[in-house]
């Protein structure tokens, strides 16, 4: 495992989705995320992984923990060499493919995570970079209120 604790998953078939999201949950739990937030992360991973399968056929998912600004986060990077997304704005629009349509899952994953970035171009594949931060608990909020001296 590389220094930064990153875990990589090849997404080749639907059987690869479950282990990837289980790891996402495990990582979140280890970092002290609430059960609900761990589920949000796992769900976002599930959607993004499935997105890769549907639109690119194969791809990879990388998960890693981060620590910034005195809080923990989980970063998920999903990469594929698929056709790319021609209109990112449309893809992220509410209702686009979410229910009965193509089910891109992007707007949903966007709603579940705190930070969400897509890097894509037709013929160049797609990279999705998303992060969820652990909500500060009472102790951390108290410390933040008191300022850096605490």
């Amino acid at each position: 495992m590389p220094e930064n604790g990153e875990v990589k998953f090849e997404i080749l078939s639907d059987e690869d989705v479950v282990p990837a999201r289980a790891e996402g949950r495990a990582l979140a739990t280890e970092l002290g995320f609430s059960r609900t937030d761990a589920t949000l992360i796992a769900t976002a991973i599930s959607e993004i992984a499935r997105n890769i399968l549907v639109h690119a056929g194969t791809g990879e998912l990388r998960l890693r923990p981060v620590f910034e600004d005195r809080r923990y986060g989980v970063v998920v990077v999903a990469r594929d060499s698929g056709p790319g997304i021609p209109d990112v704005q449309a893809a992220l629009r509410e209702g686009y493919g979410s229910k009965g349509g193509l089910g891109l899952g992007l707007p949903g994953a966007n709603r579940l995570m705190d930070e969400f970035e897509i890097d894509t171009a037709v013929g160049r594949g797609t990279t999705v970079n998303m992060t969820k931060w652990r909500a500060r608990d009472d102790l951390e909020r108290l410390r933040a209120k008191r300022g850096p001296a605490a």
């Binding site: 639907d14 059987e15 479950v18 999201r21 949950r25 059960r35 609900t36 761990a38 589920t39 949000l40 796992a42 769900t43 599930s46 959607e47 499935r50 509410e94 979410s98 229910k99 009965g100 089910g103 899952g105 707007p107 949903g108 709603r111 579940l112």
Partner: protein
């Protein structure tokens, strides 16, 4: 790794054990469609308590099951959605409509019985 389906009177009860693969979900859908027709079931109860994630694929599949069942005159009730999964689904804006939900098996049976009695009462 197929999902066990039990028959309880006029109803079918499917308990999902853990995360299903795509083929598992499709198998369940076909299984239920077949049995509802064959056994003339009036209702399907799907227990998802063991699912720690319900994503758009699962939601779509459940909806398909419900619509297929509806074509055969059966209602579908989903039970056992865990609290954190419910929060995720709402935040994700996953809509299960027209599926109905109940807390557990007991509630689902009561719900299905209830509608049948009111239907019976109306006919009288």
């Amino acid at each position: 790794m197929s999902v066990p389906i039990l028959k309880q009177g006029d109803y079918l009860i499917a308990t999902i054990q853990s995360a299903l693969s795509d083929s598992g979900v499709l198998e369940l859908r076909d299984d239920l469609a077949q049995r509802v027709g064959k056994l003339r079931s009036r209702g399907i109860i799907i227990d998802v308590a063991a699912l720690d994630v319900i994503d758009s694929f699962v939601a779509r599949s459940l909806r398909t099951i419900a619509l297929t069942a509806q074509l055969r005159g059966a209602r579908t009730v989903i039970v056992g959605i865990q609290p954190d999964v419910a929060v995720a689904m709402v935040q994700f804006q996953l809509d299960l409509a027209p599926l109905e939900t109940a807390l557990d098996l007991e509630e689902a049976l009561a719900l299905l019985d209830q509608s049948r009695r009111t239907a019976g009462a109306r006919e009288r």
